[in-house]
Symmetry: C2
Subunit: 406 residues, 2 copies
């Protein structure tokens, strides 16, 4: 099947939305063959408006951890919706959920819920400044922490003042971290870190434990706040804050995406040290206290605790990675697979080591044509709804794609 | 019944959330008798965890326009949830919704959907700066436009740079608007206006048409962008942007709260003049493209077009206002009721004209004890689920409350 219905939707969309679509789900900069609009989602699969089915390796850009339309999670949402959702006060389910996060996440003594990942990172910024009374915050160059005026990766429509007190360092580079702390001087409020380097369009990097430990040490020395932005990777690395595996506990961590398996909720978690400061900032939102996403999150967190979803996604991601390595070797192409296997990034290099974006785009197009939705330069996501057969299907498609295009 | 279950929830909450609760739904600053947590909502009523029932004059702080747990709207949500909600791309329902807003709202040629009211106002700020390439934006002193670092009413945790290019004017004061435009000089990007003055804890003011027209005129003269922030009042004033009744069309309008009757979605609407500029900013969110709230919004907008909800809420609000005026007179207390009757603000004055917050708090407490949820200093909201009998019940409670407390 083609993409005729999608093309018709795109034409209508371009009349009533700027550029026809915006944000991270716009396919404007992506290769041919990607549907812009999707009509159905179930388990590991999505269907476009032309009836084409895709194994979805993007998982909604992260929210999907246990599969689309998960019966138990969605039932909890619907049941709560019937009792109370958005109202004049939160439901008691908010207390249950805060207690559950505090129980599950090692560094967390409290929780504040919100809607966007950007809400959680903005709250972390404000809480760090509230706690210290200082202004300078360290960010890794190129790291994505949201799209508010202070952190959007595209400065159009913002002013330089929005970024007046950010000092940049190089992820995993202890010397650059030290230098940035020195530059901040006695105005250091905090250090932001992604759990691993997952910037778009470049190779991912796992965190160097020495870098993570140094970030913690510098915050302790300067009474500053360490923030781990786990919005994208939370619960895909471990059943705790992602840096807990390194023995490094932040003061604040930001969560979103998968914590309710696609239902709209994000949160900021913090330790006791930051609780008073967090209580002094004023942040809120029309739908932040809605009960239905919280009920869905409670079930999602139980599945995180009680199932082997994590071992499953690591195993499936590893099988995909190893299979692709073999297929690329067989086809004689240089494949670059970086970061944790359960958050795969697949790119290609030319013989001289430079990135082969032409092959990357062609690979994505060929995969889509065979019913596997892959992204050519953004990390992808494995979900617990995927099976060995799904990975085999993706590998078969990859074999054909690389045979055809090399 | 008492509030024992609520007290127990509050105690647990204080262990796992800063100050036990945060944001606009925290009752920390409110008088005794207000439940913090709610267990159930249906039609015009909410129930707390102790089983007390309240006629809810807050309507979730605005989202509730057609009544809680509205069968048709919620069914559309659930049906869409089963097909596709948060996924790797938006559903075609996003195009339907954008077209519907463009059809219904006079000044709108395009729509961008988001989650928080703050998202829509931040996008308006960025689009205004993107269009003009200038920095200065005019805000009315005391107006609430969200709680991002640039606009939160409490500066704790923010830096002065976040507000570097805002110039303030006095709502409804043409001379102060002219002065602010002069101060912005050739760096004027835009003017923000609430549809009416609905700042917390002070009397509301309807917009002076001369002020609205002057704001439009100044933006035209200076090629700047006029923004109406209709997040709170949208579709409670008219079936179009609120200022359309004054004959003034903004370039951008911000919407949220009631556009899906409590389901989480907000949006920025704009005219053709601003479309290119809006397409150049980078804004996005994990759940901005979720289909279920869009399906719920489509039904909500149909009810806006096809029912007499607006005439109903104006009539009920007027009956409440007139009844309260008579009751206050009878009780010999000075009541202050301002703004549109369907967004009632009820406060009391002392004989010398100063605000009587003691009576205001006592009135709220006494109303709550009789099963009517009122806020002592925030505007309230009438919904189309309310009936004459509900208003009579509220008036009976008010009669008793003012008899008891004077």
């Amino acid at each position: 099947m083609g993409l005729e219905a999608d093309a018709a939707l795109r034409e209508r969309a371009s009349a009533v939305m700027p550029r026809g679509m915006y944000g991270h789900q716009s396919v404007n900069r992506l290769p041919a063959g990607m549907p812009q609009f999707l009509a159905r989602a179930e388990g590991a699969y999505v269907w476009d408006h032309d009836g084409n089915r895709y194994l979805d390796l993007m998982c909604g850009y992260g929210p999907q951890l246990f599969g689309y339309a998960h019966p138990e999670i969605d039932s909890a949402y619907v049941e709560q919706l019937r009792a109370i959702d958005t109202a004049t006060g939160p439901s008691g389910v908010m207390v249950d959920l805060a207690e559950t996060f505090v129980d599950m996440v090692g560094h967390a003594d409290w929780a504040m819920f919100c809607k966007n990942g950007s809400d959680a990172t903005s709250m972390a910024l404000m809480a760090a400044r509230s706690h210290t009374g200082r202004r300078k915050v360290l960010l890794a160059t190129g790291a994505y922490h949201g799209s508010s005026p202070w952190n959007t990766p595209v400065p159009t429509g913002t002013v330089a003042d929005d970024r007046a007190h950010f000092v940049h360092y190089v992820y995993n580079d202890v010397a650059s971290l030290d230098a940035a702390v020195a530059e901040a001087g006695d105005d250091l409020a905090g250090i932001f870190a992604s759990p691993f380097k997952h910037d778009a369009a470049i190779d991912q990097e796992l965190p160097d434990p020495a870098y993570a430990r140094r970030a913690r040490e510098l915050c302790d020395e300067h009474d500053a706040i360490l923030v781990v932005d786990d919005v994208r990777a939370g619960f895909r690395m471990t059943r705790d804050c992602s840096w807990s595996e390194l023995g490094v506990e932040p003061d604040l961590s930001c969560w979103g995406k998968a914590i309710a398996n696609g239902h709209p909720i994000s949160c900021l978690l913090g330790n006791d040290r930051t609780k008073r400061a967090a209580g002094r900032i004023y942040v809120t939102g029309s739908f932040w206290f809605s009960a239905a996403p919280m009920a869905a999150s409670l079930v999602t967190l139980r599945l995180v605790r009680e199932t082997d979803y994590l071992e499953t996604i690591v195993r499936l991601g590893t099988e995909l990675r190893e299979g692709l390595t073999a297929i690329a070797e067989e086809a004689g192409v240089r494949i670059s697979q970086t970061g944790p296997p359960q958050l795969p990034l697949i790119m290609f290099d030319q013989a001289d080591g430079s990135r082969d974006t032409v092959l990357g785009d062609a690979f994505a197009t060929a995969m889509l044509a065979q019913g596997v939705y892959v992204h050519p330069w953004h990390n992808m996501f494995i979900s617990a709804a995927m099976t060995n057969a799904d990975i085999d299907h993706a590998l078969d498609a990859a074999r054909t794609a690389l045979r055809t295009h090399t």
